[in-house]
């Protein structure tokens, strides 16, 4: 292509400004000493992070039990989702890359399917199905099965339903690059199957396992659509934020957002570094 025109360069610059403008204002107004996240600027403060609430009316995020609880809830969901996604994703990757059986293309297609279902539909279908399951089992067993009712365990299942596809794809892509003669060499040297897996195959997969876990962690932390349909009384962070935003929030929500951005940035850079190590 020939040299870019001035207008084109100008467009690129304007585009990146557009891309970062919303994030910048969120970050800036986290430090504004005003009860509302809007101009004018009334001076720099850290009250929205650590304040007791005496100066600005509401306590800062790091001392407010409501926010701390929702962050805790997000971790209670994200950690099981990430662990399960890596564990089951590895087995699925094995099915895709190593197993030979009739109907494998069908299974492979089915594994992609969750990606084309709208998140809201995933949420309601799992809600409806597990409610029916709970009703049936409760009648039969004569006990309460709160596990299958809206709440954090159901959120874990709902998020897992599509995050597992992503984890599977990441791990399968790495497994495809594996040179199987390495495993054969280990077998020839007398290693048992378990030992080959532990000392040869899994170390090779490690970057993909870490990557898949981090992506799962991020996607779980940020998921809104599916989670909204499945939450009970304990709200993870995005749901709590949504509630606050509808009411017209204080800059505490900016402070939460900034912390979230920093956390996500941290995880993303770890991910980028492991991706680089892979190459």
């Amino acid at each position: 292509m020939n040299r870019p025109s001035l207008a084109w360069k100008f467009y690129i610059a304007a585009f990146y400004l557009f891309l970062f403008a919303p994030l910048l204002v969120v970050a800036i107004f986290a430090f504004n000493a005003s009860p509302f996240p809007s101009p004018p600027w009334r001076g720099f403060t850290l009250e929205w992070f650590t304040g007791s609430g005496a100066a600005v009316g509401k306590p800062g995020v790091l001392v407010d039990p409501i926010w701390l609880e929702s962050i805790g809830n997000s971790f209670k969901v994200a950690i099981p989702v990430a662990l399960l996604a890596v564990l089951l994703g590895t087995v699925n990757a094995w099915v895709l890359e190593r197993a030979e059986f009739r109907g494998k293309t069908f299974v492979a297609m089915m594994m992609l399917w969750p990606l084309v279902i709208p998140g809201v539909v995933l949420g309601i279908s799992i809600l409806a199905f597990f409610s029916r399951l709970a009703n049936g089992l409760e009648d039969w067993l004569q006990t309460d099965l709160d596990l299958l009712r809206p709440g954090l365990p159901l959120v874990v299942l709902g998020q897992l339903s599509f995050i597992l596809t992503i984890a599977t794809l990441i791990i399968a892509a790495r497994l495809r690059k594996f040179d199987r003669s390495l495993e054969e060499a280990a077998f020839d040297l007398g290693a048992s199957r378990a030992r080959v897996l532990r000392t040869v195959t899994l170390p090779f997969l490690r970057p993909a396992l870490i990557g898949a876990g981090l992506v799962a962690l991020l996607m779980s932390f940020e998921n809104f659509n599916t989670t909204l349909m499945l939450v009970g009384s304990e709200a993870p962070l995005p749901i709590a934020m949504y509630g606050q935003m509808r009411e017209g929030a204080s800059p505490a929500i900016n402070a939460v957002s900034l912390l979230l951005m920093l956390g996500v940035g941290g995880i993303a850079s770890v991910f980028a570094l492991t991706a680089k190590a892979e190459r």
Binding site: P22, V91, A128, M245, G265
Partner: protein, 289 residues
């Protein structure tokens, strides 16, 4: 014989998680809402088979209008995203070199690692009556009153386009990357103008990326919930909101299930149509992304 049985057992154990996952979390739940969508309440706590929920959708204007509006606006958003993203993708793929290229792509990725709600919050702070843009317009004297830019269709479209950009830029840049510079030069040498080269060489070459990007952006837009509700307020009127209202607010699950099936149908139909019209397959399309 024993070896064969053992390998069948291994295969079964390997397949078990996939079967449980796809069966319990995908297939059976969808069967459940399909069945639910065809059940009508004939007396308290008594349900029978019927098409009532779908009839309700077609006879109540609010429902089908919201549906049509969601579909139309999603197509509009997809088209706008494509037009805005194309020059960026072209620049990243064909003009920028080395570190600048990696930087530009990384800068595109960054905002999208941040939660959708944070991005929406940013737009709310920028657009609302007491927000940054309104404040700036007043301070430079372009407006005498506070200007409300939130809670209208423009704000909804803006937020949705913003949310879709990355998913358009990445597949487009991937597709444009593989275009041979010699082919483009040959186009110019044969007397093609800039526009002709773009239309006859660059765009056809980018077609797989364009299809992949459009499909992903459309799916994400149609299924979005937070952006239209928060940026559009009462005027948001997005179909996912109707599903939420039926399921959670009104507790009318059969009606909500019917709406869910319709949304799934819309989303799948457009994806299928897009693939059909351009002769692409789902597998290669998802790989592009």
């Amino acid at each position: 014989m024993i070896a064969k049985q053992a390998s069948r057992l291994t295969l079964f154990l390997l397949l078990a998680p996939a079967i449980l996952w796809l069966g319990l979390l995908i297939v059976l739940p969808h069967v459940e809402i399909l069945v639910l969508s065809f059940s009508e309440r004939i007396a308290p706590r008594v349900y029978a088979f019927g098409f009532g929920n779908y009839l309700e959708f077609f006879t109540e204007p609010l429902y089908w209008r919201t549906f049509a509006r969601t579909a139309f606006m999603s197509i509009l958003v997809t088209a706008l995203t494509l037009v805005l993203a194309f020059p960026i993708a072209l620049y990243i793929a064909r003009v920028a070199q080395g570190r600048l290229k990696a930087m530009l792509l990384l800068l595109c990725l960054l905002p999208f690692w941040v939660s959708e709600l944070v991005r929406t919050l940013g737009w709310m702070i920028l657009l609302r009556e007491t927000g940054v843009i309104s404040y700036m317009l007043r301070s430079i004297g372009l407006a005498s009153q506070p200007v409300e830019l939130l809670y209208n269709d423009g704000a909804v479209i803006l937020g949705l386009v913003y949310g879709g950009l990355l998913f358009m830029i990445v597949p487009l840049a991937n597709a444009l990357e593989s275009l041979e510079p010699a082919v483009v030069e040959a186009g110019y040498d044969l007397g093609g103008s800039r526009w002709t080269v773009l239309r006859r060489i660059v765009i056809p070459h980018a077609m797989p990326g364009i299809v992949a990007g459009c499909i992903i952006v459309f799916m994400l837009t149609v299924g979005n919930f937070a952006t239209p509700v928060l940026l559009g307020g009462k005027n948001g009127l997005w179909f996912t909101e109707q599903i939420y209202a039926q399921f959670i607010t009104r507790f009318n699950w059969p009606q909500g299930a019917a709406f869910g099936m319709l949304l799934l149908l819309l989303s799948s139909a457009i994806v299928w149509l897009g693939l059909r019209l351009t002769g692409q397959s789902l597998g290669t399309t998802l790989k592009q992304a």
